[in-house]
Amino acid sequence: MATINANITISSNIMGYPTNINKSMSMKKLGSCHGLEETTGLSNKKFASTDAVVLIAHTEGTAGKANKVYMRNTGSSKAEHFYVALNGSAAAAGTTEAIGKLYGGDWMLMPWEATANASHSITVVPSTAEPMTIEWMIFQE
């Protein structure tokens, strides 16, 4: 059993007063007090086209478990992004269940169902053909 800790801090002055969110978690197996044990390791890939690509295939995770996926656009441009989606086919945009856009420097950490179906693969679509890099890491049971 491994111990994987993740902390988030969000601060904002959108309201007329400061808003702060601070939360820590230890990633655990589903319904268990034991920690996740496996990872793909930290990966990164440089893109130079706007083609949609399956970045994480559903086969890399285990369905119905408490998998987690971390992703970050390592760039700095707030004009360009990776569009992240759950998608059965990188080419079949019509089947996409879009998640959101990761602009330069943006990151995400989400639970991943990894249902044994291509519809739960994770697809990314760069917004530009200019070089842009994404990093990611899977944590699973």
């Binding site: 939360k23 978690m25 408490a66």
Partner: protein, 144 residues
């Protein structure tokens, strides 16, 4: 201009033997494709009871002008019983399961009118907290 920043640190001493994991990232969240800060937020907390059907926590905008935009969503399952979890979905597609004490943070494009964020509790009632930070939101026309 408002400033909203989101930071994460992920660490483990024993996930990869001989290779201590330490990830740190910070981002200043901006409006869609711009360098001006987000201007809308909504946050709250509640108790999610177990049910056979999901509950919509965040409704997607019905207005096309708000779709495919830069928004960010945070959710934490504040349950303390390890056997309780929250299943999160966008529209009818399951995203993943948050165990007791776990949180998530994702960009949320609200890609179309049906892209609501749905949650379902399993095991028992889950206290939760959430926040959403938005680029903008077009007000709907009055109905009366």
């Amino acid at each position: 201009m408002a400033t909203t920043t989101a930071s994460v640190s992920i660490s483990s001493n024993d996930l990869q033997p001989g290779n201590r994991l330490s990830i740190n990232a910070t981002s200043t969240l901006m409006k869609t494709g711009l360098t001006t800060g987000l201007e809308l937020m909504d946050m709250g907390k509640g108790h999610l009871t177990t049910a056979t059907a999901a509950d919509a926590l965040i409704e997607s905008s019905a207005l096309a002008g708000d779709h495919d935009s830069a928004n960010y969503f945070y959710l934490c399952n504040n349950a303390t019983d390890d056997t309780f979890h929250i299943l999160v979905a966008i529209n009818a597609t399951d995203v993943g399961r948050l165990n007791a004490g776990e949180w998530m943070f994702i960009p949320y494009a609200q890609a179309d009118a049906g892209a609501e964020i749905n949650i379902t509790a399993s095991g028992g009632t889950c206290p939760y907290e959430y926040a959403i930070f938005k680029s903008a939101s077009t007000l709907a026309a009055a109905t009366a």
